[in-house]
């Protein structure tokens, strides 16, 4: 688990070229997971792609499908996964789920 704040290796970034937010997390067994937010739809539901050990799945989720603690998130469609991130980036991702558009890590010609 990432317990140190490492600004050079952020757990959540926003790419304004692709218009995609990307979270990197770790499960209890040390497995690495990537959650990409591919699109925000007009009703604020989100198209995501979750990739981890033995799984790669695209789905549409709502804000209510996420549960956040200080350093984890869980996702209703995949209840067995408890994904750990640094608290600073959990909050950043939680904000993104609630509609935040961050300053981009990869700048594009418009924001979002």
């Amino acid at each position: 688990m990432n317990t140190q704040l490492d600004p050079l290796n952020p757990d959540f970034i926003y790419d304004a070229v692709r218009k995609v937010g990307t979270a990197r997390a770790m499960d209890k067994a040390g497995g690495k997971w990537v959650l990409e937010f591919l699109d925000r739809l007009d009703d604020d539901s989100m198209a995501i792609e979750l990739t981890g050990p033995g799984l790669s799945k695209k789905m549409i989720v709502q804000e209510q499908d996420f549960h956040f603690t200080d350093n984890t998130f869980t996702l209703k469609p995949l209840p067995a996964l408890q994904a750990f991130m640094h608290p600073v980036y959990v909050k950043k991702m939680r904000g993104f789920v609630r509609g935040n558009i961050p300053t981009p890590d990869i700048a594009g010609s418009s924001l979002p």
Binding site: V88, G99, N100, I101, T103
Partner: protein
């Protein structure tokens, strides 16, 4: 007998770049910083505001407008924590909420047909950076700058003003944003000129805002609009236009020379209700 009539004292359009917190901490006399500090002093000492409403240009949901009606708001980091030019230092901010004012805004907005709901959100840097540099810690209502139409922004702004007036409170609206906002072209080299399209867009925008024609920003040539990608498509200014009754903005400072980011600061008095109804 009801409570005394509330008042939207002023509205402000201000920069929100996270670098402003660094400059303020370092004691910079950059005009963007000193203007924010002057606004903070005015809000506390001259206007004696009871509360502020802060509309973050980085809170951009699509379905409707949102109001955070919580009683405490904590910042979160939605800017890049890396060395300059692409990242910034770690700052935090906490403000008390104003659930009563937030509730009044939700009620008034819905009564006016505006799509608006409560959502717990907190303060992103688009909200907390200017508040922190201003040095104020008043009861605060964070609201979104959602991806809605210009007309909806104008209507929501007008509803906010009515809610304030009916609340009996003395309130300031702060809607941060930048004019030109091409972060991909930004450079910190002091010698670089501001790019041509940015100069022209910002010139036209300042002319419109300072002459009370803010809602005409959407009529600026679309090629120019696309080239400069104004932050949140100027929606913070449209919300202010609705709230202030199309009041002209007084340009407090403007910097567009170093970055491809137009840092303008405008102050808007609130037009009389007669003008709003006219």
């Amino acid at each position: 007998m009801g409570s005394p009539r509330g008042q939207l004292l002023m509205s402000y359009f201000v920069p929100n770049g996270s670098y402003l917190m660094e400059l303020a901490e370092e004691g910079s006399n950059a005009s963007q910083v000193t203007a924010l500090q002057a606004i903070g002093k005015t809000i506390v000492e001259d206007l004696r505001a009871d509360a502020v409403i802060i509309a973050s240009p980085h809170w951009q949901p699509k379905s409707q407008f949102f109001v955070d009606a919580g009683d405490l708001h904590e910042s979160f980091h939605d800017y890049v924590l890396r060395p300059a030019p692409f990242g910034r230092r770690f700052f935090t901010y906490v403000a008390p909420g104003d659930p009563f004012l937030a509730g009044a805004m939700l009620d008034t907005g819905r009564a006016a047909g505006v799509k608006v709901a409560h959502k717990q959100y907190g303060l992103d840097h688009g909200a907390f950076c200017p508040l922190k540099v201003m040095g104020i810690r008043l009861p605060t209502v964070p609201i979104s700058v959602s991806r809605r139409s210009v007309n909806e922004c104008l209507e929501w702004g007008a509803a906010i003003r009515r809610a304030v007036e009916e609340s009996g409170k003395r309130v300031v609206l702060i809607a941060p944003g930048n004019l030109c906002h091409r972060l991909d072209l930004r450079t910190e080299k002091q010698t670089d000129d501001y790019f041509t399209d940015g100069v022209e867009f910002d010139r036209q925008a300042i002319e419109l805002v300072t002459t009370g024609r803010t809602r005409d920003l959407e009529k600026i040539d679309r090629r120019l609009w696309t080239a400069v990608a104004p932050e949140a498509d100027c929606r913070p200014l449209f919300i202010i236009a609705g709230a202030s009754g199309d009041a002209p903005g007084r340009l407090m400072q403007y910097q567009g020379a170093i970055y491809s980011v137009g840092d303008a600061t405008f102050a808007f008095e609130t037009a009389s209700t007669d003008k709003v109804l006219a």
